[in-house]
Structure formats: C-alpha cells, structure tokens
Symmetry: C2
Subunit: 229 residues, 2 copies
DNA sequence: ACCGGTCTGTCGGCTAGGCGACAGTTGCTC
DNA sequence: GAGCAACTGTCGCCTAGCCGACAGACCGGT
C-alpha cells in the first residue's frame, strides 16, 4: 500500500521557515468533539495540527458520515478548499483535545509565494492525500467488505502504526462505526469482519486500539483477487 | 455539486510564465489508446494536456478499471505522483489523439520555486481533484446506483458540458462500461439506469455523447435522500 | 452504587445489484 | 459490403451485505 505514509509538514520545514510559519498563525485549542470547521462555512483559513487528532469527513444522510481520513500532529488540513475558494465541502472535528495553528488565506498565500519550500511541501501534502483517496476509491469499487477492511487497517497502520515488539499498534482509537464509515460498509458488517479477523489471530483490540498480530496474514486477505468467488 | 468545475491551468497562467513553462517541456503526441504512463512506472514527469482527452484510472482486477477522472485540454496530470516520488499508482491513457507537454521533475520543481503563480495554480489543481474525489467517495459510500449515476452525470456536465440551446451536451463520448467504472457499479446496472433516465425524458444519447434534457429532474434524483427506501 | 449513554455482538429477513448468458446493434476495417 | 469487434439491451439466478431489533458490556459522571 504505497503512497499512504504519514506526512509531517512541520518536521520537514527548515527552522527559519517554520518560525515564519508559526509567527503568521494563531494558536487555538479545541476540546474533544468540537468542530474546527463545518460543511458550508467559508474557507478562510488553513490549519496546521500541532497536537491531537482531527477527523475529516463528509456528512451524507443525517447521522451518516463518510470519513476521509484522520489528521496527525504535524499535518496541514483545510488546505484544499482554501486554495480553491468556495465553501467547505467537509467537516473537521477534534477527536480529542487538539492544538491547532490557523493561518489566514492571505497569509498562507504570501507564505507560499515567498517560501518555495512551503509551496512544495503543501503540494506534497495534497498529492499524498490524493493518492490515498484514489486508492480508497479503487478499493471501494472493486473489493468486498473483508478485503476493504483489511486494506483499510493496513493503510491506517502505515500512517498511525507504532511498532511494539513484534506487533504494530494503531495509536488511534476507533469504534466499529468509524471503521465502517471509512470502509464504506455498515456497522454490523464491520463488527463481523473484525471478529472474524480476531478469531483467525490476525489482530486484537486493546481498548479501541487495533493491534496487528499477523501482518502477512492481513496482506493475504487484502491482496487475494476478487476472482476467489 | 460545487468544487467540480473544470480547471484550465494553461489559461490561468500569465503569458510570460506560460512561455517559460512551454520552453521547459517537450511536446509529445499520443494516438488513441496509447498510454502516457502506466501503474508502476517511475514518476519522472508531470504532463500538461494540450489537446485531446486523457483517462486517469487504476486497474483493480485484470480487465476491471476504476476511472478517477478524465483530463481536458489545459489540465495538468501526473503531478501528484511526481511531487511525492515513488512509482505511479495510476494509469493515464489517451482516449483520442492527444498533444501533451511533458516536463521533467527537476524542471518542474525549478519552475515552482521561481514562479509562485505556477505553484499556486498547481496547488489549486490538486485541491480541486481532491475535492472532486472526496465527493465521489461520499457518493459511493452513501448512495444507491441510480443516485450515483445521476450525480456522476451532473458532475461530468459541470466540467465537460457545453450548452446547446436549452440542453447540455457532454463533449466526452462514454460507454456504459466507463460510466459503470466511474460510478462503481456493473455494466448491466449502468445500462439499466441510463435507459430508465432516458425513458423518463431526463436525458438522451447522441452517439455515445450524453445530452441532458432535464437537469432539474436529474438533480431531484441526485438529491433525494436515501431514506426514500 | 446507580444510571444513562455509547459501544459491541448476533440473528434473521429482505433486496439491491453483481454476474453469466446471449441476442441484437452499431460502426470500423479491409 | 463482408466481417469482425465493440457496444447495448435484457433475463434470471443468487449472494453479499444492509437494516431493524435487541441483549449484553463497558464507561464516565454524580
């Protein structure tokens, strides 16, 4: 699952640019569950996540959300809409207490124009999102529920995974509902598939945090051709 | 369906930048069906489409393709992978005879660093793709086949549509198979839905080109909540 | 310790839509 | 204008998986 690796904007930025960037922004704090922005709002700022996790999603039917991705500390978000203008198509909600740096559109534009490095990194950011989403799209079109969830977990592990001895843990607590919302399936199906994977010894759960015990086995499921039917 | 409008990179570029851009690239010609690049190839160039149409897609199972979008003249493509590095995850195939300007990675990077306008426009390009794909993803997760295809057609019309008296024509010939590959459904279902829409007088087909007769009616289908079941 | 909310586990019924099959149509090539 | 390839139209079977329902588990607040 190439192209899905984490992307730490802040860490890649040389010290001088970084200071400049921070001086242009305003530090804000969001409590768990608060929205940084919502669908329909004008796109006045780009955001840099300093600490916490942000969930980026679209509401479809009321109560149903399609989760695009989770942001990690160091990542930019809200960029895509700001550049193009127009209202936000998506929501950004804090999963836990978050520190965020907000940069107004004008400021951001000025930064991009004067600091090529920032421009390049922003493009990489967008590019990596685009690739990840393209991959997700292809999965959704082609694979059945088991495969989609297996791929989802591997993709998440590539970004949010932390090695722990011989297994990998996702540093991101997820409910079955959220897994379903990312994989494009129902809550019940997600539950079934997850339990099946547990039973087969491929993974385990430590208090809403997924632990991958047998990555190879997961890959086998992820890669088996649909022709297996 | 906001955020899905066409994006003519070339037209937005001031004359001087444009000349510079063109001087850095190499003009190439592709016949119908030829690939500009394929999955797995190293990403050495970005491309600017001068004339023709390019289909951007991922192969899933052999013979099955998930179409991400079609490029129009004036659009950049192959950018996302080039910026990030690594092999191409996608294919770009000429739907008809195409003129393409290819720019090597180094050259492109130099351009971005010295011409802020190019950087900004590239970001807008990526951003608009990202929004469109996000939208598609949400549709795929939430809607049934009818709705997905209605939305697809409206989205395509926003980009590829040409006003013709009181109806809109898509300047892009599409087979049912391709519609299915974009909407994430089977060829047969696409056929059924298209015929149903024809029967209801919402659209017609002129030699593989869709003509929208009743946009409002289409919107009604696109927007009806799934709760309609 | 109690209560309420959120999350998980599990079961059947029901249906959208995938898939194979095949005939008819269109249009390109030689 | 014959032949072929690609595309469309339509049927019917069959299954993945959606959905409602509900019981238990877990957790955080008071």
């Amino acid at each position: 699952m190439p192209g899905a690796s984490a992307f730490d904007f802040l860490a890649q930025l040389p010290g001088a640019d970084r200071a400049e960037f921070e001086s242009r922004g305003r530090r804000e704090r969001y409590a768990r569950g608060e929205f940084v922005f919502r669908t329909g709002e004008p796109s006045e700022c780009a955001y840099l996540l300093l600490d916490g996790r942000i969930k980026i999603f679209q509401m479809t039917a009321p109560g149903r959300e399609a989760i695009l991705w989770f942001c990690l500390p160091g990542e930019l978000f809200g960029l895509a809409e700001m550049v193009g203008g127009g209202g936000r198509p998506i929501n950004a909600q804090a999963c836990e207490a978050c520190d965020v740096l907000s940069v107004r559109r004008q400021e951001f534009q000025a930064l991009v124009e004067t600091h090529p490095r920032i421009a390049l990194l922003s493009m990489q950011m967008l590019a990596s999102r685009l690739r990840a989403l393209g991959e997700t799209f292809a999965n959704l079109v082609a694979d059945d529920a088991d495969t989609r969830i297996a791929k989802l977990i591997l993709r998440l592990a590539a970004v949010h995974g932390e090695r722990h001895g011989r297994d990998v843990r996702l540093g991101l607590p997820l409910t079955h509902q959220e897994i379903a919302n990312m994989a494009g399936t129902s809550r019940q199906t997600a539950t079934q598939v997850m339990n099946d994977l547990k039973r087969r010894g491929l993974l385990g759960i430590d208090g809403h945090r997924i632990r991958i015990d047998d990555a190879d086995g997961l890959w086998k499921i992820a890669l088996r051709a649909r022709t297996a039917s």
